[in-house]
Amino acid sequence: MALAPRTTRRTAPQDAGTPVAGSPATDAEVSLEPGVQRRTLLGFVLGGATLIAAAPMGAGLVEPAAADGIPSVPQPPEIYDLNDFLSHAGLATSLLIKIVINEDGTASFELPRAEVGQGITTSTAMIIAEELDLPLDRVKVTLAPARPELLLNQLTGGSNTTISTYTPIRVAATVARGALLEAASVLLGDTVDQLVTKAGGIIEAPDGRQVEYGELAVAAAARQDREVQVELGERRTERRVVGTPQNRVDALEAVTGRKQYATDLQVPNAWPTMVCRAPTLNGKPLAVRNLAAVRRLPGVTHVEMFDFGVAVRARTFGQCIDAVRAIEADWEDGPVAGEDDASILEGLRRAQLPLPALPSLPLLRTVNQDFTFYFRSNSAMDTNSAIADVRSDGAEIWSGLKSPVVAQEQIAAMLGLPVSSVRVNVVQSGGSFGRRLFFDGAREAAQISQRMGVPVKLMWHRADDARAGRAHPMCTSRIRAAHTLGNVVAFQQSHTSIETDFRHGLGEALTAFAADLPAGLGNLAFSETVFTLTQEMPYNFGAVLQTLTEADQRFNTGSMRNIFSPDVRAASELMVDRLASEMGRDPYEFRRAFSKNARVTAVLDKVARAGQWGREMEPGTAQGISIHKEYKGATACLVEVDCRPETVNRVVRDAVTGPRVTKVVFAVDAGLIINPTGLEAQMQGGINDGIALALTSSLHLQGGHFVEASWDNYFYTRQWNTPPEVEVHLMPSDSPQPGGAGEAGVAATFAAVACAVARATGEMPTHFPINHLEPLAFEPKPFVPPIPPSPTNGLRLTY
């Protein structure tokens, strides 16, 4: 087998990026968009009281086509990845997004996506402010309610929001700007090409006369819809907003407690409601033995039984908690009753497929390793929650929803109402991490409201959110790699997983567009398609084969921040270190030598230099380094980890300590950077997720249920685990298009931490998190009642 030299489509940036915090815009941020052809795009001015400019969601997208210089045996994501898919899923529809210019001189925009902390309301406002020459605070971005006509175009996932909306939003804003200039030309008596827009929403004539956008909002309005051709691109050489560090548009609301999440909304009569759930996962109630007594408890108004549990509505959530705890019910066991981690893992191993034969070559040496990744919870701070007001002739729902159109369709069908009678409001939510791709809370709230005949504010208890909420599935990753004569000639990775549920809209999109996927990908199951569209081995390792096999559909699963990549990449990067070691090469130098892609090499070089790769470390401490390529970008991470006994055995009450990551140096090339402050924040968050996956956070299945019922059971990274030193480098990029950010920080960090632990301890970890098989660090809370009592000792714990 010959190893063909690979050419890449892009050259490396001149130099690496600089840490972003507080630094001025870099050259790349203020440059033109090199290589961008001037493109004529279609927009609209729509009839309305004030100016409404619109663009089709698919604006600017082109059908996928193989470009010159693609490597001879590329993996699918190199040509067409999940982001392309998510963007192209919107091509078939000519759905419009609209920017409205208001008489007060502001622009408003309803974003058909969910803001869950990732910062898209801010970045979207920045894109509009840039094109319209408006100050950021005069652009109002809100979240659109479910718009059924948007079909698959209202799905927030895959870190694809900015990738898919960047051009359409620019088109709409450019249309708006053009219409304002036209209206100004009538008013000022000058031709459009003599007028200029000035920062602050002002249009100026050559003689200095000015008119403000607000004064033109009505004049620029159209009586009927009309098409407009616009050109995007080199309007000026300097970006004023895009690429500059901007704070979140909702930051003030967040720090003053004014930002509202679903359970903060005051909907008349939507009283607190909670659910008593089964002692085994997905068990069902058969009967409530003390129904009358529970209904008489203080504050309780309603108690009703559903297949998912027994719902209680009361004056306060505190009284709901007491009532849930008082319920005495008979339960039918759930589908995994009696099972535990070991039995589920055994089932997974039975489902594993044999690895294909290796090429027959002289002096071939192989390395093999199996890795296990246990269940992890994607529970956010803001638990599954929703307000539902279901009447006989219609319903209204409020919830944090990343797939509101599917939620609306399914809830309408469940309630027996036409879709048009169910309004689904998308509320900002307190985190997602994959959780809000589903609408478990909204579905239950709608059922409860319908049965009780009153509005309800449903909130899952933390214990339920961790135990019965969705989890990232347990999986195994088997790797076999072969090398000879200084080259890696084959790299096989066979990933076997409990099924990941994609039936939230992405699944529907895959069904609808399966035929359009290249290379026969449409024949694969949902998960296999997502796996194939996201997994890319960023090395020239000869015959690379990565496959996914799924088994077991009995769990409540979903993807968790970065879907398959953290596990796949941690396993493969550990094997990269082993290959380097076998071949007598340094981990950084080895990665560099085999890197397939210049952008990847550039971020790798950046962290190696900035993080002083190879510096002398104390025994028991070590560096680890890794790379990852996804979301139209590239990432690299260098960590230092301390595995010395005095660190590992630190005592913090009700906590897991263990190895401490003491330093992280991270580099990301995310293409065109919209908001460096937000991009850095997403990397910092992803770093803590990667550390949790490697070291501390997992769910334990025991006796048919997950035992973790609290943040002091499920050990997401805490202050005593977080690295005291974190450095994020944002690479300058010549890309005219933004990449994805929300999930991009996780995979490389997980992999780097795993590699560092292996190097510090001399032993490669083969299951994750590394503490999973140690005795539980907590006393599991009872399953009956399913939620813990509210404490009473708060006044003795003040500080």
């Binding site: 004056r315 529970s379 910092q684 202050q719 009592p789 509210s790």
Partner: protein, 158 residues
Amino acid sequence: MPTQTFQLNGERVSVDVEDDVRLLWVLRDLLGVTGPKYGCGINVCKACTSHINGRAFNPCAVPVGELSADDEVTTIEGLPATAGADLHPMQEAWLNRDVAQCGYCQPGQIMAAVALVRKVQREGRAISDADLDGIRNICRCGTYTRIREAIREGEAAM
């Protein structure tokens, strides 16, 4: 049903509710004060952290009947007034560092940070890395790096 009376953000409030209802629900469900968030209800996540008589506490773990009429409860909504400003210096620091992502835990984080700074100031010292490591408030977005930066910045202005 008993009437519960206490001081909330500088004003005397009275509300009719059973003694054993935890203060968090009295604030959120009955008084509409939603800055303190629910994240666990068992005094673990600390998302509801507020102040009682100037000290940090978690209203999810306090039966409202335990409060007396003179007890001063301060939630994030009342924090700026304690500094006699539109925003408390710790909130300013939070804005400066653009700490919040989803924002859900941040009112609790800020209230905890203010109490921590006051505590070390009472002890006549400055915030240490160990103090920061000891903060139990969880942030599932992983904003810990900026939280640590903001606390040190806020401390300097307090």
